[in-house]
Symmetry: C2
Subunit: 356 residues, 2 copies
Amino acid sequence: MEKTVAVLHGDGIGKEVMHSALKVLRSIGRRFDHTFKVKTGLIGGVAIDEVGDPLPRETIELCEKCDAILLGAVGGPKWDQNPSHLRPEKGLLAIRKHFELFANLRPVKAVPGMVEASPLKEHLVRQVDMMIVRELTGGLYFGEPKRKTDNDAVDTLTYTRKEIERIVEKAFGLARIRKGKVTSVDKANVLESSKLWREVVEEKKVKYPDVELEHILVDAAAMKLITQPSSFDVVVTENLFGDILSDEASVITGSLGMLPSASIRSDGFGLYEPVHGSAPDIAGLNIANPSAAILSVAMMLKYSFGMETEAVAVEEAVYSVYKDGYCTNDVKKDGYRVLTTTEFTEKVMEELEREH
Amino acid sequence: MEKTVAVLHGDGIGKEVMHSALKVLRSIGRRFDHTFKVKTGLIGGVAIDEVGDPLPRETIELCEKCDAILLGAVGGPKWDQNPSHLRPEKGLLAIRKHFELFANLRPVKAVPGMVEASPLKEHLVRQVDMMIVRELTGGLYFGEPKRKTDNDAVDTLTYTRKEIERIVEKAFGLARIRKGKVTSVDKANVLESSKLWREVVEEKKVKYPDVELEHILVDAAAMKLITQPSSFDVVVTENLFGDILSDEASVITGSLGMLPSASIRSDGFGLYEPVHGSAPDIAGLNIANPSAAILSVAMMLKYSFGMETEAVAVEEAVYSVYKDGYCTNDVKKDGYRVLTTTEFTEKVMEELEREH
Ligand SMILES: CC(C)[C@H](C(=O)O)[C@@H](O)C(=O)O
Ligand SMILES: CC(C)[C@H](C(=O)O)[C@@H](O)C(=O)O
């Protein structure tokens, strides 16, 4: 197959980890006989610096011509005091909205050998393997009216039935090919939008008799992610709850530097990026963990290109490197050898060749 | 002093733990020569069953004649399918709003000897001692418009400057008599209400040069509560963020059954209740942990009655019982003797006498 990928490095360590990700992508291309073309564009802080816009028109046009987007990371203290339309995150929000990337998939999985790095007791996290499905283009992020005076401020949490339906369908579909369970998170005892949410979930459930469904209030979910994290399979929720819970979940297995994410549209087009940020403090030092960026490539192969085997090859290569006793600086561990970004990437490539 | 306390047992284990709390209150009365009068009223599920209203008029009138309110717990599966105006939680929301109990104080403290019960690694939680200050009468809980049709739904997140000012003042005031640090949690990179929130926090800070201030985004806060829980002192945030984060924090030290809460008004009037729920599965078995209800009495003594010494006496008595090797069923521990609700309460009273 031939696919064109928009590559947006962004800020901080974004450049380094994308470099690793692209090496792996090319390696997959060679091995499975695909052609991956790459077009690079600007987003975030660098885009503000170079053209005065966190998501320049040219970047949008470039992405429109591609089959998927790979993103490094955006943000940094340099732009923290900027007015809000000139902040790196705005680029991220705008690209999600422009391409209607309504489904944010955030897998959280205990990496064999690495659970010691977890802040939680090992027995609680060893079996963790969940997929948080966060609605990404609705709710308080984009609802109108949205305004602020000196004396008050308003944000609006709004959802249409359609918006809820498509994300809930996604969650049920994923549960079916995973462990068969959906946990829907809302605040139905307080919010009208959550009541509609729960109604839609109940309706959709009828089409998935084979999938187990549980409803849980967001406050209870925040507790259960800590006390029983391995009880979850697919977790589906609205935008802001998803923001909070997926970040909470991301530290549970002690593997934040290894977590990828996908933000996809109905037709499979999507944006893939590490969960971690731009880590300006270690940018340019060649010590960043490239696992999350590389695993984002795996998600792209799977969800946008339908290349299941290729995706699994990438995942297994990354996990093997850890299993062989290598790690990066962020997850240092007794008896493990700490590699640089480049070295770690080389090891992943070697694994890919070896599997072959 | 003479004080009158409104006692609302509520549902499930509410009755049992309030019974314990009142015994301790009376014991404090004897020891420090105060007269505590008690008036009981209905709230929650029992109120729905008996008079068809989760917060009957008579209860409001009764509370208006008192100096503070002690509440057990509300809710249970029995009322879960009720229409929303006939649900136990509505009683709780209504009483908060009616009495303008805008400041919800939720201390989270590692109980000596009990941190083993934590899902987190012990070294992370041993030093935890934070106070979450949650705004309780604004935001998405009460904002208008709030509506739902078959096709869409709307909730409104709104804050006035005044509402933010008073809760932020409270937080700074508390930090000054605690460890001198305020962490303000918002989502200022997305929400207008959070931008106003952050502005007000910055303004108020000027009056508290001795207090250290940090701003943190709600998603990052959800992570940091797990990775560095002992880095927090006072955490201040809006209603829904506070709901989620305070519940998340409540499981961190492994002592959910021991956590009290206060919901107070500007003049010191307040409602005091355990953080735990009504636990219908163990109601009537005399095995519930009464610590949270008893520690809620301590908070009432301190915040509504200005009885600092009395409050400390109660706290120390509860902690001593644990230190002496006793516990209840919810926090069973090797080498500890598991007591019934009644027995545990007796031990607390003995400690109170002994201290004397
Ligand atoms: C940067 C920010 C606007 C963004 C969000 O809140 O969605 C981020 O936290 C994320 O989760 O991708
Ligand atoms: C019962 C519910 C409405 C309530 C809330 O969300 O405030 C509860 O979760 C709490 O935190 O006291």
